[in-house]
Symmetry: D3
Subunit: 214 residues, 6 copies
């Protein structure tokens, strides 16, 4: 019954945990994920612009910021279910859109409805801004799964997510920002140190200026 419902709903995104039903060392919520995707999209669009592409910044931000908002209505549905059949996927998208539309019509004053209908639409289209969203969404997912792998999560799912995310990113490899990611950022990520116990001993004894005689 008003924009208050919309503002209040933002807090529900903080209570939606990503990838439910699996043990994770570090949990992420949909609000934090949306923040990170928007920050990453900001960087990717910067790279594109510095390489001469024309960027509609308003659109970049709108797409990134709102891309998971409809999860408020649908909850977190596992990907294999969504994609089990074309028919189910289609029906599901229709329901999602219908629920979002109804929310905007119920809660927003008339003068802002068209704007929000537009904003809360699926944003991953073929425009450069839509492609930036697709890449940014997968980069954050790659980081989330890398975080679990690095912390030694034994669940194979995170490895599958890592692989699937990387494959999707590579589909956009003609983009400047994806080239930048693959050539500069990903190698750096893979060089992350892992401190083995042996090194701990060495450094300890180096500090102590004592030979490890064991």
């Amino acid at each position: 019954m008003g924009v208050h419902q919309y503002f209040k709903s933002l807090s529900d995104l903080e209570k939606l945990v990503r990838c439910p039903g699996k043990f994770k060392y570090q949990e992420h919520n949909v609000a934090s994920h949306s923040f990170k995707v928007t920050k990453i999209a900001q960087y990717l669009a910067t790279v594109e612009e510095c390489h001469g592409e024309k960027i509609n910044w308003k659109l970049v931000y709108e797409k990134a910021l709102n891309h998971d908002y409809p999860e408020i209505f649908t909850g977190d549905i596992k990907t294999p279910v969504k994609y089990a059949s074309k028919e189910l996927k289609h029906l599901f998208s229709e329901v999602e859109e219908e629920m979002t539309r109804k929310f905007v019509d119920t809660e927003f004053p008339e003068m802002y409805r068209d704007i929000y209908h537009e904003r809360l639409k699926e944003g991953k289209d073929d425009t450069i801004e839509g492609k930036i969203l697709s890449v940014a969404d997968k980069i954050d997912l790659l980081y989330e799964s890398f975080g679990e792998i690095q912390k030694r999560n034994p669940e194979p799912l995170f490895f599958e997510i890592y692989e699937m995310s990387l494959r999707t990113i590579i589909e956009f490899e003609e983009m400047h920002c994806v080239q930048d990611f693959l050539n500069n950022i990903l190698p750096e990520m893979l060089q992350e140190r892992f401190i083995p116990r042996s090194e701990l001993k060495e450094i300890t004894y180096a500090i102590l200026k004592i030979k490890d005689t064991q």
Copy 2:
């Protein structure tokens, strides 16, 4: 690739939080919920049997224990989505059954497959055991929502869940166990004390044997 996958999957149910996307004072997971539903069904079936009904105990336990297991495959989908259209609901059930079937065929030795196909089926049917499951499931949901209301959760959703659960229970009011619940257990639940601050002061001063002169 074996029953180990099945045993391991039980732990995933511990990581599936009920009613995601909403602030709750006390969170419940699907494994704990399944335990409580089975314990409640045990009581309800006891009431029925003591009133002369014939109970297939093996069935009571199988239905209660397994009723939410397929959420492992589908995740937690919000009710309004599931019921948005008959077509979607139907398609969705098909996908759920297909995934469960495939899991049993992949992980179980052949000699146990038929048994598990049967066990992991939708259990809420018109048998007395199926009806006991329907009631037990809603009683636990009623307790979960009552717990939030009693702790003063301001979110109206929990009140709606409370009401909806109670309405469903009443649909089975011809059952002995539902009569017992409505006549004996529910009134007790509603008499739960809530300790007001004024009482705290009174008792404190009574203990101190000092008149409260403020």
Copy 3:
């Protein structure tokens, strides 16, 4: 040693809890807060634009998205400390800026450094976009403290934060978006229902179609 450090740092914001050292029913992290502030700023800027003001959307989003990023370097310093003396506040701002500048110079390729120096600056200035950030930041703080008050947090601090946030918002009352907030959104927030126990009994018995004869 590269943009990977920047991407990785976004996840640290998820581990920075807002208002540390106080019991809260619902905790919020800096990443989620930044997301909500950006969504609120988006709405506020929409209101301004629909009332004829000229909005630099790129700036609105940059300011909102990045406004708390430097907390990565400084941690969460209690407000009374920061504002204990003009001299301390000034020194403190200098240190914050210096650390941010050094981070950008160390981690970003040269071609993007000026852009990020600009982006990670203090954003609350006298431009309309700066004022929108000031208001959006305080609206989210108001919602955070209202959430605690509504859940009956006995700590007076949340009431003080509520009051202080509202006072700051009112300082911008000449803005269209603040008028909209005060006239339409805030009254709706204050009408949030709280379900008393007596009502619970009534509705229960209404559902049961039984007179409450106790």
Copy 4:
């Protein structure tokens, strides 16, 4: 003063953490544990039945479901304390039984008391159903400790629990279900992959179709 107290107490089992006083990557509560033990017992009894043994299914479920319920009265007492002396163990069992008996007599209607006295008794006896409970209880404990070891918990206790559980299971090695567990399920558990970092690099570069030249 009624069955409501019994239903409400089920939720207390959700707040009893298993193995308190030790750091764990994943915590388990007594309600979830009871659910898993019952599911495992269901499988074990299925194996026995398929190998020609006669199973009292009602008993299997009753024993598994209720085996840790008395922890509501006693709390979680560390095993070495319980077993410190025969005399203490005996006295302790007496107190546990007395408390359970008193609870049933206070909260249950007379017609159900005998049934619940029977159900809440110690279930690990020499019947096939009692032995299935003993094995199922230890299999879940084995999985819990394996989960910690696999996640690299440095605490030796989990290794001791793993070893002790396995030793207990082997005491029942004449059972068909234990043979099935040792021959089919345990080997599968030990083959759980652990993804080493080197493999991560390989797969990443394989996806990228780039030779790892470092």
Copy 5:
């Protein structure tokens, strides 16, 4: 096999949750509780000393700091179990002492063993320092239960704990520090404000300088 085991065990006290098996808004661990008891004992002893009593400060601190350390060996046993019979209580104390003694003999160098045998003994004796420990322990328990009551925990147990703690404190009412607590600190605790919703509206509209005309 050394003092490292002792230092490491301190962290186990951080994983021992107080009052397990009950929903609490704010959980406390045994390490934090021990800290608070020691700080409270420090204040109580200060009051006694300022009123002319002779205080052995070394003893005050030793008793408070170590009073719950043996819970590392025994876990958290519910009070009604411990006190079920004199015989059980006696046997139980013997086991606790034996385990503590064995730990000191195993982990500490010989020259410190007698000191630690003395330190880890039951500290609640009839000396002034022992009585200060008894009072300080109950004051912290009173604060823990008051915190739950103030946050509106509907569980009657916390009210019982509050009452029982207060009754124990009063048993020592001849002490200066208990007089100080009852006359000055407790009344202040009971005056803690609880901000009702009506007041929230009033202050909001006072800030807005708008009459509440609803």
Copy 6:
């Protein structure tokens, strides 16, 4: 407005998480940390006394117990900020002292004020008790960071903290207790077993008395 505010504030230390803004496997709060530092200081002072040094025990405990209490007023400020400039550090210390002084003057009865002004002062001075506090504080920090390294936290920060703590401890290497720590306790810590997967297999098969033929 009284000592109740002081007692209540102790609970705020339980909500202050150490090292905010970084992923940790095990979180520690300031109250628990203070407890552990006091226990460690107790041991260190025992070593000193047994080696003939004169110890003021009252001072040892006061310093250790209160050393982080002022964080209640200032929050958790990251070390690099505090030490960014001598001027800032000085100003910051002044503000901290001023806030602590004001708190004591507001909340404590006059007769106890001087005592608490003294107690809540910075305790790390050149007395033997001050040096014991410096060492104990760093030993607990070493254990906290070792805990993360042992659990394989990939964040290099914990390694830096480990190294920095050890370096500070060594600065006091002329002390008997530091010699004891370096010669007896630290080597034991570094010998902590880490159970590799291969060993798990071996022991499993040893228990099973089966040769691992894979």
